[in-house]
């Protein structure tokens, strides 16, 4: 009898890029629900626009590069980029801002570098930074979270959609009436005004650790992240690295001067720190490769988040921290090469 030839190993692979990406998307669902609950339906519109732009941009670039677009789209990586970008943007964001970030991320940061697997920079963060620089006013417009205050004017679904599509508020409302400082903003400006952290933490927007709403979204992000760890889609090194890199300097400074330094808990539960630890920094393509390298990479991001928040001009700093450490990846990979079994420790190192 004749048989068909095949190369070893003769077993079905245990993993799949598309499945991994799908699980990442699934892990974001609880956080997305919480986000919509606290900040209104804006995230959904942002998600739709970012998805359309990422998918369209990817299809266009694959066509231009002479490859079948289906192959790139079926790995779901463009959707993950879209989701991460949408989470980074305020819930009220005009569509062209979202689309610009998404297209820059996919076209420039991803495909001009060679597409999936070859991008040096995290596409979502590259796209975010571009719109942060290009549309600073739009990116500082955060609505207040749902926190039980009665005098606050919430936008309806239709009003949110209108703003997303036109960039203008209903006639009766002004920006000042609907926008509120984020906890990080409030902390930064409060400290600049020589107020103490205790005073700032007593503002109504502040919750137990971070801000009202924010910290709940953070909890759900962490749940999704732990689920990804259990499913082995991500490993613990990068999240732990980010946590350690952020919490240790924050902890030391806070212990030294609790009146002028926000607590480590505030740092962890504010802004995009948790999102970064579990979903952004863990993008394998632009991260370091070895476990030790990933700890260093994560710790570098954590420390840079702290440094930018404390001494920098940007309020959060996650995107810049990630992009800076993306640049450091080749060097990290070089110095953290594991010792090959059977080689002496000094051998094999560069």
């Amino acid at each position: 009898m004749e048989f068909e030839h095949r190369e070893a190993p003769h077993m079905a692979p245990t993993a799949d890029v598309a499945t991994m990406m799908q699980q990442v998307l699934l892990a974001l669902v609880p956080a997305a629900v919480a986000h919509v609950w606290f900040f209104g339906p804006g995230l959904i519109f942002n998600l739709l626009i970012a998805t359309a732009a990422c998918v369209g941009g990817e299809a266009l670039m694959m066509r231009l590069r002479g490859r079948p677009p289906v192959r790139a789209l079926s790995d779901y990586s463009a959707l993950v980029t879209a989701a991460l970008l949408a989470f980074a943007l305020p819930s009220l964001t005009p569509w062209w801002v979202t689309a610009t970030g998404a297209l820059f991320g996919i076209i420039v940061a991803k495909h001009l570098y060679g597409g999936l697997g070859f991008n040096i920079f995290n596409p979502a963060m590259a796209g975010y930074v571009v719109v942060l620089v290009a549309f600073p006013m739009h990116l500082n417009l955060w609505v207040a979270p749902r926190m039980g205050d009665i005098d606050y004017q919430f936008l309806s679904v239709l009003q949110t959609l209108t703003y997303t599509l036109t960039g203008s508020l209903p006639d009766a409302l002004t920006y000042d009436e609907i926008s509120r400082a984020t906890p990080l903003d409030a902390m930064k400006s409060g400290l600049n005004d020589m107020r103490t952290t205790v005073e700032i933490r007593s503002l109504p927007i502040m919750g137990d650790f971070g801000g009202v709403g924010w910290e709940w979204i953070g909890n759900f992000i962490a749940i999704g992240g732990f689920w990804l760890m259990i499913r082995r889609v991500i490993r613990w090194h990068i999240p732990v690295g980010v946590g350690v890199g952020l919490l240790i300097p924050a902890g030391i400074m806070w212990l030294a001067s609790p009146g002028t330094e926000p607590s480590p808990g505030f740092h962890m539960f504010s802004g995009a720190a948790l999102m970064c630890a579990f979903f952004i920094a863990t993008d394998p393509v632009s991260a370091a490769a070895s476990p030790k390298g990933r700890l260093i990479y994560g710790a570098g991001i954590g420390f840079l988040i702290y440094a930018i928040r404390t001494w920098g001009a940007d309020v959060d700093g996650v995107a810049f921290a990630v992009l800076m450490m993306n640049m450091a990846v080749p060097a990290i990979d070089r110095i953290t090469r594991p010792r090959i079994v059977g080689h002496r420790r000094d051998a094999g190192a560069p």
């Binding site: 003769h10 077993m11 692979p13 490993r235």
Partner: protein, 506 residues
């Protein structure tokens, strides 16, 4: 008495995989003996080293156990007739070889008498002989490593004698899925495994031997423990190791058992360990006690493409179709035939290939689920996490694509054991093992080329040097003669001139 096998946790293997074992489908029955086939196909090269040279001619009648071919070089193993019959052909035949799809084979038409040669002596009293005599006796048995590497056992032992050895390790790990021939052997012939271990200790004059079994073989462990208690040899101990692929790899096993790492490019004997497969130990035992050379082996025939998966003890040279027929034939879904296990086995296109000394498994599979298209590497690092040698397959893949020989060497391509773990976990479905095999072959070619160029260069330089030296010597000699003649004065010169004229005149 499974408690007798303590789980040692001395060494730790990096990475590895817990694979779905799928062994039980073939372990339901005891080891079966298929009937003698009508025809035997015996490849001349069933071992590492020089192919054996035939000692018989076409048309010659041979007996079971008769020496058919012998290796001329220092590394090799003889081939014996697995049954009696007539040599009908010596020539190329399809094989599951390392070097190609066909190889020279001796084809015997069996007469069914299974008549054995009588020339073999009585059982060898190895317990009373000095170690080196025992080694020389082992050499004649045609025994090679039965774990799959088929290194000639006698030579492996002889090389080991000169090393400073601490332990003999009998490998009963059998970590690849589907394969259960060693498991069945240990269950049914535990006493002979122990006996083989004692012979090895005697031959190498050592005091410690470990029999190492993976924890998923409780019956084998129990049988071995019982046999060892009965024998009561304190030099032997049983070790149970966790069931993680590829713990049965030679270097990996040494690392697990002794916490010593085999140096890159070296052998376990460099760090005081000699590893032999349990099947090899039994083969040695059979040869010295029962005077049966290596003419049969136990093999697992299994997979969803075979009707009745089982373990058979078949004659070396039986073609796969004969064994498959004995095992109930193929199922309708049979699509791939793999000689060896599912991780490292070789896929062949015909079942006319013979069972050889290396064949520990015949795996007939239906369609392996399609892996989907190969995607770019996303640097997830899962490959590095499972690599038992702690390589960075994603980097190696990058350099293999770039054909960067320096970086490939620097990142340890030659340390890759081709276990296939990285392949299996790669979410981008990159055939890493295949790519690395190809890259290794290219590096070997480059090395050969370099060696050839180096030899040519040295030859050329040596020739130049010789020519120059001869030239210098001629000049010195000429100068000496001139000098001598000048010193002798005008009469002598005239004498020389006259002699030269006379020489020219002749």
């Amino acid at each position: 008495m499974p408690g007798a096998a303590a789980t040692y946790d001395l060494g730790k293997l990096h990475g590895g995989l817990r694979l779905d074992a799928r062994k039980s489908q073939a372990t339901g029955l005891p080891i079966q003996s298929p009937p003698l086939p009508d025809q035997l196909v015996l490849p001349l090269e069933q071992h590492v080293g020089d192919p054996a040279q035939p000692l018989v001619g076409i048309g010659e009648r041979v007996l079971k156990g008769q020496l058919l071919a012998e290796s001329p070089g220092t590394l090799g193993a003889p081939v014996h007739a697995s049954s009696s019959g007539k040599v009908v052909a010596i020539g190329p035949w399809p094989v599951a070889g390392r070097r190609g799809d066909t190889a020279p084979c001796i084809v015997i038409e069996c007469d069914g008498d299974d008549q054995a040669v009588e020339s073999w002596e009585e059982p060898i009293p190895y317990a009373e002989l000095p170690g080196d005599t025992v080694l020389r006796k082992i050499l004649q048995g045609g025994i090679v490593g039965l774990g799959g590497a088929v290194y000639p056992t006698a030579q492996k032992l002889m090389q080991a004698v000169s090393c400073d050895l601490d332990y003999i390790i009998l490998n009963g790990a059998e970590c690849e899925p589907y394969i259960s021939c060693d498991d069945m052997l240990m269950r049914e012939r535990a006493h002979d495994v122990v006996g083989g271990a004692q012979i090895l200790l005697r031959a190498l004059e050592l005091d410690h031997a470990f029999i190492v079994v993976e924890s998923d073989k409780p019956e084998a462990i129990q049988q071995l423990a019982t046999a060892m208690t009965e024998v009561g040899d304190e030099r032997l101990s049983l070790k149970q190791i966790p069931t993680i692929y590829p713990s049965g790899g030679e270097d990996q096993l040494v690392q697990l058992v002794t916490n010593r790492e085999v140096p890159s490019g070296g052998l376990p004997t460099d760090i005081g360990c000699l590893v032999q497969n349990v099947g090899t130990a039994v083969a040695i035992h059979d040869w010295l006690n029962n005077r049966e050379p290596l003419i049969s082996r136990i093999t697992t025939i299994t997979g969803d493409g075979i009707a009745n998966p089982m373990n058979v003890r078949a004659r070396i040279g039986t073609t796969i179709d004969d064994i498959a027929r004995f095992a109930g034939g193929y199922t309708k879904s049979a699509r791939h035939l793999v000689i060896g296990g599912p991780m490292t086995g070789k896929s062949v296109s015909t079942d006319r290939v013979p069972l050889v000394k290396a064949t520990n498994c015949i795996l007939v599979m239906s369609d392996v689920p399609a892996a989907g298209p190969e995607l770019p590497c996303i640097r997830c690092g899962d490959c590095a996490a499972v690599c038992p040698v702690r390589l960075l397959p994603q980097q190696l893949f990058w350099y293999a694509c770039a054909d960067d020989e320096t970086q490939l060497r620097d990142h340890g391509l030659t340390d890759c054991i081709e276990c296939g773990c990285c392949d299996l976990v790669c979410p981008s479905h990159i055939p890493l093992t295949y790519d690395f095999r190809m890259a290794k072959a290219r590096i070997r070619e480059l090395d050969d080329e370099k060696a050839r160029a180096e030899r040519a260069r040295r030859r050329f330089e040596a020739r130049n040097e010789r020519l120059q030296r001869e030239q210098r010597e001629r000049e010195v000699e000429l100068a000496r003669q001139k000098d001598q003649a000048r010193k002798a004065g005008p009469d002598a010169i005239a004498e020389i001139m006259k002699r030269r004229r006379r020489d020219d005149g002749d």
